[in-house]
Symmetry: C2
DNA sequence: TAGATTGTTAATCGATTAACAATC
DNA sequence: TAGATTGTTAATCGATTAACAATC
């Protein structure tokens, strides 16, 4: 009974960043790296790095450190990057089109196979070689072409309806750019990219900073009196 | 000495979601809401909701709950949404253009004032009414038009150089879509949107799920023998 | 007043950091 | 072997949840 010991999402969230740094190191011909060196580069503790990696079984060697190439490959496997993924775009607007044209996903094995939209004007066009079909064909397309991931770049009103259709499809995950929460059966994983939430967090930081500055100023002023 | 008691980023990260739910409630004419009702809608604990709000001083009333309109406005203020923000786009490619065309930011008071790119072909065009200028003009533009936020949608190689230029500009924050970490003086806040990191996390979830399913299957098979 | 629900303190849980024995 | 650095356990820190007195 190899009960999966449920790795915390905080750990998973850090993996892509490790992967990026290790890829860069490898590209620069660095063969080995210690948790201490990596910790300095990444601005985290060496302890955290070792703890994180040990969730998946040790990848290092005492007295040596980690082999860059090997560790890079292993983290890639943990992230499922040794598999190819078929994706569809749902909503062929500006953001969706930009995602299709962004070739870095393809380089990592994530392939857009088709796009779907309610706008008829798009059906005779292609986006970077990808055909655009009517929404009605989505469900059957998913079945016929074994699609893993649906990328939702549609307004929130439509997103809820589309999510309902997708609940009944043999899809594995939804990458959700619509500004709403989707509720789907547990077998369908959802990752949200809420751009306006991100912008609001930045806005908070801007004003929090200003507050602390003006506080310092008034404190300094009080000092003077 | 009103020492700012440094609110944890976990709390801040949740604020935009509260804001969204409260906006929806308000739009639906709901006047009041209790932490318990809201907790059920949002799938979090009522305790967390009350703790979160109390970091900023209580917004509710015993025996009544929270006034939807008021709480919505207060969270907006905490997030700095009562201020207007001037933004520039750095990198007028597909993703950048899509962001300019996405009008929801404007509705929240975030205005794109100009775009900058190294591609000369873009200088005589506009993107949704926004002019595109040569990169060299960026620094002076920031000064002249009191820009708050630079939105970076450029390849990682360029991003590091641009970040260096921006370190010397009176900018308050960077919204970074480039797939690299930027290091900047503390006065400039950075919020990263690493799309490929997000996609990798989704990929992890897909395969983690499949593993646990195949484990169940082999467990069931073992049972049969 | 009685009922409801907050604001807040205390208890629990989980994640991060520190420390060090194991071992290459 | 001696030195380095991991893997891992224990200590600390912080965040979440539970509980309940305050109060509308």
């Amino acid at each position: 009974m190899t009960k999966q010991k449920e790795i915390s999402s905080a750990v998973i969230a850090r993996l892509p960043r490790y992967y990026r740094y290790l890829g860069d190191l490898r590209d620069n011909g660095v063969e080995r790296i210690s948790s201490l060196e990596l910790s300095r580069m990444m601005n985290v503790t060496a302890s955290q790095i070792r703890q994180d990696f040990n969730h998946f079984g040790g990848f290092g060697q005492q007295g040596y450190g980690y082999n860059t190439e090997y560790l890079y490959a292993e983290i890639g496997k943990i992230l499922g990057l040794d598999h190819k993924h078929n994706m569809i775009l749902v909503g062929a607007g500006n953001l969706g089109s930009a995602l299709i044209k962004y070739m870095n996903f393809r380089n990592r094995g994530f392939y857009f196979k088709a796009a779907f939209d309610i706008n008829e004007a798009l059906y005779d066009r292609q986006i970077a070689g990808i055909d655009v079909y009517p929404m009605e064909r989505m469900a059957s397309y998913i079945r016929d072409y074994s699609i893993d991931i649906a990328v939702l770049t549609i307004p929130k009103a439509q997103a809820v309806k589309v999510a309902e259709v997708l609940s009944g499809c043999p899809i594995k995950a939804i990458w959700n750019f619509a500004h709403t929460d989707l509720n789907l059966p547990g077998r369908i994983k959802v990752e949200n990219v809420h751009l306006s939430d991100s912008l609001m967090r930045l806005s908070y930081e801007i004003h929090r900073y200003e507050e602390s500055v003006s506080e310092q100023n008034s404190a300094a002023q009080a000092e003077e009196n």
